[in-house]
Amino acid sequence: MRKFVAILLCAVLAVTQVSAQNRTVRGKVTEDGKKPVANASVLVKGSTLGTKTDDNGNYTIAVPANAKVLSFSALNFETQEASIGSKTEINVVLTAKVSELQEVIVTGYGTTKKAANTGSIAIVKAADIENLPFSSVDKALQGKVAGLQSVASSGQPGASQSILIRGASSINASSQPLWVIDGVPVNAGDASRLQTTGNLLSTLNPNDIESISVLKDAASQSIYGSRAANGVIVITTKKGKGGKTKFRFDTEIGNSDVAYQNPRYLPLDANEYINITRTGLINAGYGAATVNAQAIALGEGNGINFNWYDNIMRTGSQRQLNLSAEGGNDKTTFFLSGGHFFQEGTSINSQLARNNLNVRINNKATDRLSLGFNMNVGNVSQRAPLSGGAFGNPLLSTYFLLPTYSAFKADGSYNYVLNGGLHNTLALSDQDKRFLRQTSARGSLSADYKIFDNLKFRSVYGVDYNNLEEDQYNNPNHGDGLASNGRAFAYYTRYFNYVWTNTLDFTQNITRNGDLSTSTQIGYEAQKSAGYFSSLQSQQFPPSLTLVWPASGASPTTASATISEYTFESQFASTNLNYQNRFVLSGSFRRDGSSRFSKNNRYGNFWSIGGTWNIDREKFMNNQKIFDQLKLRSSYGVNGNAGIGNYESPALYGFGFNYNQLPGSAPTNVGDPNLTWELNKPFNIGLDFSVLKNRVNVTVDWYIRKSENLLLSVPLSTTTGFGSATRNIGSMQNKGLELSINIVPVQTKDFRWDVDFNFANNKNKVTSLPNDADIVSGSYIYREGVSINTFFLREWAGVHPGTGDPLWYDTDKHGASSNVYPGANARILAGQALPKYFGSLTNALNYKGFSLSAQLYYSFGNQVQDGWRSYYLGSGFGPTFNKVKRQLNAWTTPGQITDVPKYVYGGNKNFQGSSTYNLNDGSFIRVRDIQLGYNVPKATLEKLKLGSANIYVRGTNLFTWVKDENLPFDPEQGTGSSSNLNVFIPKTVTVGLSLTF
């Protein structure tokens, strides 16, 4: 040993001597020990001396005597240094740069590297959706992905959220994407039957999600065949990484309030209401006696001025707590987590609590066999008030109940006698019960067997189980239970959805040097979703308000149970050909059969082709300095939308049309023996590039997708006995541009500024309809050449300054106007419900331990309809209901210019009728998220024995700017953009703490 040290010392001395002289070093730069790296720079560190490798990766360089280190660099490779010492030959193996192009991304049924990806896939990472005050992941996606529109219609915690990816492609079938969680296509959407809303995804804790891949084009989607047309959202939950067990703890607490409130749309107080009512009675021609009597009857002079709005609105509380542990060894890894989430809505009787558990275990049984198990169980308990026109809807009562009626009598008990027969929603909130309890279990068992190193078999059995217990009690004294002397409901809904997927994955070099390689997958999948529904109701309840279950009712009135099922059976294959990671060609095919499709059209074939050219890997790019990455992608294919009813194809007689409590039947479905999926044909071309040393990363996509065989509810002449029939007819087109930009304007040792911007513009148009005829559906029209969900309404022409009468344009020609509510032919195209463009801008600043980030969400170009305007802004229509402040602008004197007609008790010439008066510009910009955080420094952490600690304050929806000052409610009103007196969307402020140890 001593001898060895002596030799080493000698060697070191020798090196020192030798290096004092000028000499030549040569060598070879390779990628993997074999493959040469051409055009790599070889530099003497600390000097300007340098050379480049030739085509075979060889170099020769003269080095000065004092040179110590050579630096090797090449595009797409990590820079590497080597000490020169006494060596005359230095061979270097460069490792490829783990750039974005090398990132592994999750796709349908597998993963791919970004370089090999031909599709348009957006990735949302865990950090972007963790610890947000949203009850479900779909809400958290707003603004995160270019071209993904996530829009709420209610602020109810647990409410369903509409998601449109690259526009809406269907009129009557579903426009919602397919959700795939850990490989299982799950049931998603609103599963409530008794309560107003029940989002199946609300049982999934967003904190358990590792990543979300949004599949936007044919190349990425078509492997999901008949269910891919609305896009696919692939969720992967967290896995353990092995090693020492690590814990993570997250908690936050906060409050929420109404995000957007327009003072013009606050209800009138007692004086204002009585004054306007008196005016209205006089304007309606009533004599003094009637005016006085009615004013008194409506509460004049009764001394009451009750503010229903303030009593029903409230500050909601919000909290969540998440704990996880991960670890394992080289054979087995695990991830365990538990979470609790609680949120109150911005008005009474609105809340949600979630508790959930998550387990994932992975085991390498042998070198060839690995096993996986995961189970995510969540339980949600939700209270949601009635919505829309229900008398028990607290939001309705804030606008409809008169301030001259108090919720309470003089003795403090509830007052049940209110205007218009409406309900005292404060009393109901107290005495009625409305519950939804939902339990979901999503999990899978998988086995991977490596048959050869390049051939893998994978089998996954997945389950997606949801049950909903919906219970309701309406007390016998007041409200909906009065007529039946109390009533209670119990609805049980269960979905058991299983999927068995088997795949073979095969990778092979086609040329010996690996320049051309392929990876191919074939698979088989069978899926069945079985829904079970039981419903019961009983009436005639004992007087005690604590007996709230149907068991206490004397008279059972509903006893029903039924099922609803669907199946899919599919074979699929996908392949890609990769030439030096420069050119990649991909293809996919899927054959789907489904019980939903008619006998005549039970199976469908879906496919895609895609290609990408990683231009930055071309030789000619080696000499340019502009692009760090440059990638061109394109794809085309055909997929489908199977989002139709489970039993829509056959002509049907339904039952339940009973008479004298004996069974009765009636035709319920026109039927179509050829009914089948909708076709979607997306074409996509995209460019990804990075410039300025990867400080600016840009993704641009342009797409056009044509949807054909649209499932349409074709209006029939009602004289046939049916109002509509479902047919595969009609077509539609969406085209648009998506842009995502990530910029790092400043990056120093302590300071980093990140800017993320995304933009999407989608232009939808209906391209064909049966017999080229318009289809009018309520306030909307489907017309060739026009976007779906375009409002079709009579055109408001203003208030006549001389008479205060409402005016409408007589015809759709925008010509003469009159005070006669015009006929159907006067309706015009009045703007679209879907925005023309939307996206977000995020700025994140990090300085040492501090972080500040803000996301602005913007949405422009749509109209929003006020669904209940006629009642609270109808210039006298529904006169015994309260009005909003804007009604005070009603015309009073000749010559007055105003936008609210004269107030006439009972209504002013059909002013309440639907017209463009109901529309407001829905453009808005909202501070979706703003967060200030602090990371505790390492030194402190070590003292505390913590891995990391972060404290933060977060504001969600804190500020909302709207373009139209008359927009009554939140600009987000679902994809139909029509308000329905739902719980108002909240703004939330939370403080939180995140620890790992």
Binding site: A284, G285, Y286, A293, Q294, A297, L298, G420, G421, L422, Y449, L482, A483, N502, Y524, A526, S555, T557, T562, I563, E569, G593, S594, S595, N646, P650, A651, L652, Y653, G654, F655, G656, N658, Y659, Q661, L662, G664, S665, A666, P667, V670, L716, S717, T719, T720, G721, F722, D774, Y821, P822, G823, Y871, F877, P879, T880, F881, Y905, G906, N910, G913
Partner: protein
């Protein structure tokens, strides 16, 4: 080793492919609560089930569940909307309803929905027997009733112009048809054919909730009266009075009669009604709800002018009560008594109306008969006997009809067939107290939804509606 893995691969592929040949039935799932028409209408018993479905259709809120009885009175001069209201039927109170009116659209589509249900029974190929004929007979009567309502609300009265546009006559199911309007006379021809056929096929009487032979004839008497065919109206009314076996409600039994909620088997008074029971009822939308003051609604009040017509001793007056609503003295309608438990049924054809039809139909030819028949009613109501003659007698018959059938939806159709202006009391909004016979709103518009879906009818809108 290599051979072994190749074997594995083959096994795996074979496994994969064998799975792919799943059972065919995996993809064939039948709807759990519905049947395809060939199975739903296969037997005599199925026909009976379908017939109940047709009756259930008539119970719609848009028809006898609420709208028909309410519209028939609010579009005339019997009932008005309280200033304290829940906004139901407001536009009829104000006479300013539009082509988009939901109640108008509901009346139209619910009627045709019933017609489809009846058509499928009538057109069924199940071999005839007494039961099948009875069911078909009831279906004919139901179809006639639906057309009778449509033609009375949507078309020029027959007494005005039988050649005017009626409503589309649909007797065969064809989901793609876009029919135009038949002439009024053609609609009435269809109604009469159906009712004649109904009466000839039916041999059974179950209870008042189902059509029977004489219920069909009684309805036909009303149809003829509506057409102004007094000869046939009288003949049929007298046939029903003489031969049906029904007996009229009397002053003594009157209060109990209206308080009853169950279908009758005793052939007293009710010839046909729609049955609403404790389970299958319209809940908050029940007819009684909109009149009775004990519920949340009670929007609709009796016009003080009508109330004033009842003699103090008239038992019918006890069906009304006075009180205050919306700060104003009001008359409440207590004719429909139950919106909880077993609900009040909606009367469609009553025996007493036969006397009124006989009286009115006798008037042009035989005043003595007219007087005799109308007093068959007054005498059973504790009302003073009518003793007038000439034009005054006709007015008294019409007034007696108004008093007897008030809130049963007959007043507006009467004003239509009599081609009279409607003069409403000061209970009504000042803008809507005189509704001339020529007011275009006296005919309902073909609903906008129908115009949008049916190119043929698009050009056949009633005059005045744009």
């Amino acid at each position: 080793m290599k051979r072994f893995t190749i074997k594995n691969m083959i096994v795996a592929t074979a496994l994969l492919l064998s799975l792919a040949s799943c059972e065919k039935s995996f993809l064939e799932l039948n709807p759990p609560t519905s049947l395809t028409p060939e199975y739903a209408l296969a037997t005599e018993a199925d026909l009976q089930v379908a017939l109940r479905g047709a009756y259930a259709g008539l119970k719609s809120t848009s028809l006898y569940g609420r709208s028909l009885p309410v519209l028939g009175d609010i579009m005339a001069d019997n009932t008005y909307q309280s200033v304290s209201n829940t906004n139901r039927y407001t536009s009829f109170n104000l006479y300013n309803y539009t082509v988009t009116d939901g109640d108008v659209a509901g009346l139209w589509s619910a009627s045709y929905s019933v017609i489809l249900r009846a058509n499928n029974i009538i057109n069924s190929k199940i071999p005839d027997n007494a039961n099948v004929l009875q069911y078909k007979g009831e279906a004919y009567a139901i179809r006639a009733l639906a057309y009778f309502n449509l033609v009375r609300y949507f078309a020029t009265p027959y007494t005005q112009d039988p050649t005017a546009l009626g409503v589309p006559v649909v007797t065969v199911y064809n989901p793609d048809s876009k029919p135009g309007r038949a002439k009024v006379s053609e609609v009435y021809d269809q109604i009469n054919r159906d009712l004649t056929q109904a009466a000839s096929l039916m041999t059974k009487f179950t209870n008042s909730s189902q059509f029977s032979k004489y219920a069909a004839r009684a309805l036909q008497a009303k149809v003829y009266l509506t057409m102004g065919d007094m000869t046939n109206a009288k003949t049929l009314a007298l046939d029903v009075i003489a031969n049906s076996g029904f007996t009229p409600v009397t002053a003594a039994t009157h209060a109990g009669y209206w308080a009853g909620v169950a279908p009758r088997t005793d052939k007293v008074e009710t010839m046909f009604e729609l049955s609403f029971d404790a389970v299958a009822n319209n809940a908050f939308d029940a007819l009684a709800y909109i009149y009775l003051q004990s519920g949340n609604y009670g929007d609709m009040l009796c016009s003080t002018e009508l109330y004033g017509k009842f003699d103090a001793a008239d038992v019918r007056k006890s069906l009304y009560a006075t009180g205050t609503r919306g700060g104003l003295a009001s008359v409440f309608v207590n004719k429909f008594t139950s919106f909880s438990g077993d609900h009040t049924d909606t009367k469609v054809v009553r025996f007493s109306e036969m006397y009124l039809i006989a009286a009115e139909a006798s008037y042009p030819s035989n005043a003595a008969d007219a007087l005799k028949y109308v007093n068959e009613v007054t005498s059973r109501r504790g009302a003073p006997a009518i003793a007038t003659s000439g034009a005054a007698l006709l007015e008294d018959i019409i007034l007696e009809r108004r008093k007897e059938l008030a809130f049963e939806g007959e007043r507006y159709p009467d004003m239509q067939r009599l081609k009279r202006g409607i003069v409403r009391s000061t209970d009504y909004p000042s803008s809507a107290r005189t509704i001339d016979y020529t007011n275009f709103r006296r005919l309902m518009p073909i609903p906008q939804g129908e115009l949008d879906a049916n190119a043929t009818i698009k050009t056949q809108q009633n005059p005045g509606w744009n």
